[in-house]
């Protein structure tokens, strides 16, 4: 067929853009020439708002960034503020945080697996993924009463202690997940349609990925062993034995394998943290009003979506002078055009899905 460039609009209301994202596409028949993401439909001015709130009041708002992994956002922000204020978090609280953050990673990756398969047309996987995620959300509910915007990690520690019944419940849920995972893998791993839609699609090389700032599972799918839990361990991650799963081809299929393998590693970490849970306090002694002398810190964690960081600058009052979030979804989405160019139009959905973006933290 003759070359014919057509502009196509996708979104902002589109079920597989995982939020309100608009893509301006230029295609030549079925082949993608350009992709331009248009952002801001969910922009709530979080960073401006944070400047008018006290350090503690900011924490629940971080839940609304990556709302599929609210505890990871809490953790990154709290670690930055603690570093700024010189707060020493008790060892037991650090372990509880690791348990919560890894359960959150499980929930996020399981939800991703379901969404991703659903985007490509394998609807039943969505139900398996969500069934497993549901158990984890029930744990959060029992822990602090909330399921999605959990607000379970506070400056200085965690909101509650982990008691015996909850520990046994977590263990019971962890035992169930490998079975669910095996179900999902038996549906997808060698599924001809799944492989057809994912193997060799949306490829990016390791060098390009680093240049585009890609982090998290999409980067590790290129074979780059960059995981902040190993690079700059925080919250006692260096106490635990776990592997960093890597891919080789940097395509959608490898991103899927990396995430599923990360689920297994998270189960390992939670198990070790529960076994070694130290005695002591679950939160540090905190002043009633937290005022921090002028300084600036930057702290990063490995969130389910990639490297999540907070820059916090204080000015001597109880409110931050500036809080800047380094959002993994925002930076990962930048490489979408590069991954889509030359692929088929129908693969844009799969490639976008494979990046695991959440618009809450892209638009802030």
């Amino acid at each position: 067929m003759a070359f014919r460039e057509i502009d196509l609009n996708m979104g902002p209301q589109h079920p597989s853009t995982h939020g309100v994202l608009r893509l301006k596409l230029a295609v030549d028949n079925e082949v993608v020439l350009r992709v331009e993401p248009v952002l801001g439909y969910l922009h709530r001015g979080m960073e401006k708002l944070w400047e008018s709130l006290t350090y503690t009041q900011v924490v629940p708002l971080t839940d609304r960034l990556d709302y599929l992994a609210s505890l990871s956002n809490n953790l990154a922000y709290c670690l930055a503020v603690e570093k700024l204020a010189g707060i020493e978090v008790p060892r037991r609280a650090r372990y509880i945080r690791v348990i919560l953050a890894e359960l959150q990673r499980l929930a996020s990756h399981l939800a991703w697996t379901g969404f991703m398969a659903n985007d490509i047309g394998a609807m039943s996987v969505l139900l398996y993924g969500f069934e497993a995620r549901e158990d984890i959300l029930d744990i959060f509910e029992e822990y602090c009463g909330a399921r999605l915007t959990v607000h379970g990690i506070r400056i200085g520690g965690a909101v509650h202690d982990l008691d015996g019944p909850l520990v046994s419940r977590i263990r019971a849920v962890l035992e169930k997940i490998p079975k669910r995972l095996a179900d999902i893998r038996s549906l997808l791993d060698e599924n001809r349609i799944w492989k057809e839609r994912t193997v060799g699609i949306g490829r990016i090389t390791a060098g390009e990925a680093i240049d585009y700032g890609l982090t998290g599972p999409p980067l590790r799918a290129c074979g780059v062993a960059w995981d902040m839990r190993k690079e700059i361990p925080y919250s006692s991650y260096d106490d635990f034995d776990f592997d960093v799963p890597l891919g080789t081809n940097g395509d959608v299929y490898d991103r899927y394998l990396v995430r599923l393998e990360e689920i297994c590693q998270s189960i390992r970490i939670v198990g070790q943290a529960l076994d070694g849970l130290p005695e002591g306090e679950y939160k540090a002694k905190m002043p009633r009003v937290l005022k921090i002398a002028p300084a600036e810190v930057f702290h990063t964690i490995e969130a389910p979506k990639g490297v999540l960081g907070f820059t916090v600058r204080s000015n001597g009052t109880d409110k931050p002078e500036r809080v800047k979030m380094k959002s993994p979804s925002f930076i990962n989405l930048q490489s979408l055009e590069h991954m889509c160019k030359g692929n088929l139009f129908s693969d844009v959905i799969g490639i976008l899905g494979s990046l695991d973006i959440v618009l809450g933290e892209i638009d802030k």
């Binding site: 401006k48 708002l49 062993a225 700059i232 361990p233 925002f330 930076i331 930048q334």
Partner: protein, 165 residues
Amino acid sequence: MPADRADHPELRKALDALTGRFGNAVLAGAADKGELAVRLTKDVIVPALSFFKDELGFNAFEDLVVFDNLNSPDEGGARFTVVYRLFQFPGAARARLAVEVGEGESLPSAVPIYRAADWAEREAFDMFGVPFEGHPNLRRIYLPDDFEGHPLRKDFPLAGRTVGL
């Protein structure tokens, strides 16, 4: 303690190399806790970023942060401080490059060196109105193109502003 790792001797060497190369353009520098922090004059920022990437091995661009110094003047006294954060992988070393930018002044774009700087610069332009010369597509990233003002500036009100409909 891994988070507060002892001084990287390589970072000291890197700081010496940087001062040797850029001389007086390096206004201040420190290597501490796995991070190399320097303050530079803004005219050398692009060659300095190239130097960090090509000579010192800081292959990843992590973040770009702008501070409005309206209420709390920084050392340099300029309106904005723009901070570039770089990461070295493998090696886990960080670099913090800070430059001062006055109101209405522009900075050269870092996109030719780090492609990851693209959206970060658009965000800084949108929120603070700091223009980046040579950026391939310098448009607002979050707000509508006809929006007036830059919301993260300290003199932009948090609420109570009327907008035309």
